[in-house]
Symmetry: C2
Subunit: 196 residues, 2 copies
Amino acid sequence: MGKIVTSASMSLDGYISGPDESGFEHLFGWHQGGDVEFSAADPRWSFRTTEASAGHLREQLAGTGALVVGRRLFDVTEGWGGNHPFGVPVFVVTHRKPDDPPFPGGPFTFVTDGVESAIAQARQVAGGKDVGVAAGQMARQALAAGLLEEIGVDLVPVLLGGGIRFFDTIADAPVVLGAPRVIEGNGVTHLRYPVR
Amino acid sequence: MGKIVTSASMSLDGYISGPDESGFEHLFGWHQGGDVEFSAADPRWSFRTTEASAGHLREQLAGTGALVVGRRLFDVTEGWGGNHPFGVPVFVVTHRKPDDPPFPGGPFTFVTDGVESAIAQARQVAGGKDVGVAAGQMARQALAAGLLEEIGVDLVPVLLGGGIRFFDTIADAPVVLGAPRVIEGNGVTHLRYPVR
């Protein structure tokens, strides 16, 4: 069975978004880090990066069967315009279902009974592949529930000085992780830590 | 001429000390990560780690000619018992010189006119080697003054959930760093980022 994983591009000082939703040109600069093309099913998500980073992304894309995301991420991205670039079912954890759910017929299911329920539903449809959990708050809740099995950090050489942290208010700390798999890109160090 | 550098063992969630000065057994677990002996001039600082980490430490030790540290670090370590394990001159940045400076004849010089002055004095005696700046607050001040040339992070696979952050209140963010040198240890990923 697939794993429950989270991953994010993170600045060296721990932010997945800079102040006032700034800094993405730095956090995702590695998406233009080379001349090897990477394309998701969705043509909007196509860019040129290093062979190492492209291989890493291809593996992530091929290994992911469903996603669990927070309502905030869904709203900020405006529902990825109706379809997540990964092209998989997306379970949106929310306190309250929208009265008029956007993108009917799209991949989105609104879940009001928490991240554990959303992960269980995502597992059902993931076809044995991984379930990706995003962003930080959802990942921390999955970690606290003992469900998270891998933490991926795409560590970017920039200090953003403020914004939204990937790791904040970790329950039950210290949490000891396993040794990471390390892949060096251009403008990024990909780190994948197993949760013990 | 040597560089102005800082480095620290940091948890994946950004802490160089856990809550209430806890977590050091995790942050420095890699000091017992293998069977290759590393010894500083000072026999108190001797441990067994991987060949990769030992080589990294030997290089750091041999390359460091003087240190600039904050008063807090000096006090917390109780002046390293009178001599820093690196065996080099140490400039302690403080608001007020102690009335009765500890360890007379020791390597410590108390500097009351700020980190820039301390770095200038350290450079004078570093014999062309690097000047190490510690800990976080001193490093951030050196960065803000445009003096810091390298940031080293010994990234440890643990989430500490609280404590003292290495990077906090960065002035003039975003600060774009260069590509890191990456060395994989056991229980640590050594990352060395040039400041541009």
